[in-house]
Amino acid sequence: MSTDTNKPAPSHWWKWFDPRKSDVGNWAFILNRITAIGLTVYLFVHLVVLYQLSQGPEAYNSFLELAKHPFIVLGELLVVVAAIYHGLNGIRVGLTTFSDTSSVQKAIFYVIALVAIVGSLIFAVRMFTA
């Protein structure tokens, strides 16, 4: 019989990121959560940046100068990496949902991970050499 003091650990959101389980599907899930949170945070940052447009040319130009800082470029690269992975994993989830491909979900993950790594490297080279 369950009692209030004898419940399972309920609603610990951080357990989404429990790394003890290392099976492929779970890593796909963990990465999906991390990139989702990253992209959500970026959305708000992006809105703040857009707000600069309404503060006149000087404010916007000074922001553009700041945006050239390597740390900012690195942050932008992380956004690109997150967007690539999150989008590709969405395709994986869609594939396994709409077709009977659950048995090859690991292989699909390996393919999207490879595409995400290659895509991220291309963006990294272009962003840091521009």
Binding site: W13, G25, S103
Partner: protein
């Protein structure tokens, strides 16, 4: 047969009543080819009679001895000690996650059985009878459709492994949704409407941990995806029905 003996430390989760849980170490000589459940039984028999754990058949049929071994769900009656001992000679044994702990390694799986029944799956029906309950006999589905979920031994390991079940106690869970998939072979029982909700078939996030740990190869993750397709097909059909 090898006479090799290993000194192994079994780090066992202990919890009694409302007292704070803790881990207790038991050192014991074991043969590496022994099953983990046998070691737990020997700890109970020779070291601590207050240790509580569940077991019955000893051959992966009853589903009673599911535990987390070094963080992974295992049926301890078919888990060899040599396969799970860490390099430092330790094995960590905990109860399943996402269920209330009754005592030590025993969890209350009442919700699992209630959820299975709520979707029309009959947990206690025999494997021989299940395909004929209301499916094949009524010309609904083939024997192959039914037999796979009949393999489910209701061990609860899929729910313990599920990262979504970890964060919400209202989720129906992989076992019940796999049961719903089987129940949906009979289109008259309304199970598709029952699982078409936020805590039903749409809560799954495709981690497939359930399928990884299932000792009976039921593939709950795949069943959930099949169920989603059925729910979507039913929704599309209902649009045309409502327009007629």
């Amino acid at each position: 047969m090898s006479n090799q003996v290993w000194m192994v430390t079994f780090r066992i989760f202990r919890k009694k009543g409302n007292l704070k849980p803790y881990f207790e170490d038991f050192q014991m000589e074991v043969k590496p080819g022994e099953y983990l459940l046998e070691a737990v039984e020997r700890i109970w028999a020779f070291k601590d009679r207050s240790l509580t754990f569940a077991h019955a058949c000893h051959h992966s049929t009853c589903g009673a001895c599911g535990m987390r071994v070094n963080g992974k769900e295992k049926l301890t009656c078919i888990t060899l000690i040599k396969d799970v001992v860490d390099d430092d000679g330790t094995v960590k044994v905990e109860p399943l996650r996402n269920f209330p702990v009754v005592s030590d390694l025993v969890v209350d799986m009442g919700n699992l059985f209630l959820n299975l029944e709520s979707v029309g799956h009959h947990p206690v029906i025999s494997v021989v009878e299940e395909p004929y309950q209301d499916g094949i006999a009524a010309g609904k589905g083939s024997e192959a459709d039914y037999i796979r979920l009949s393999d489910c031994i209701e061990c609860g390991m899929c729910i313990s492994a599920c990262p979504v079940a970890t964060t919400t106690s209202t989720y129906l869970g992989p076992a019940a949704l796999a049961g719903a998939m089987q129940a949906s072979l009979n289109p008259d029982n309304g199970v598709l409407k029952l699982v078409d909700c936020a805590d039903g078939v749409w809560r799954c996030h495709s981690a497939y941990e359930c399928s990884e740990v299932c000792p009976s190869y039921v593939e709950p993750g795949r069943k959930i995806m099949q169920l989603r397709r059925k729910v979507m097909a039913e929704r599309i059909k209902s649009i045309f029905r409502s327009n007629n």
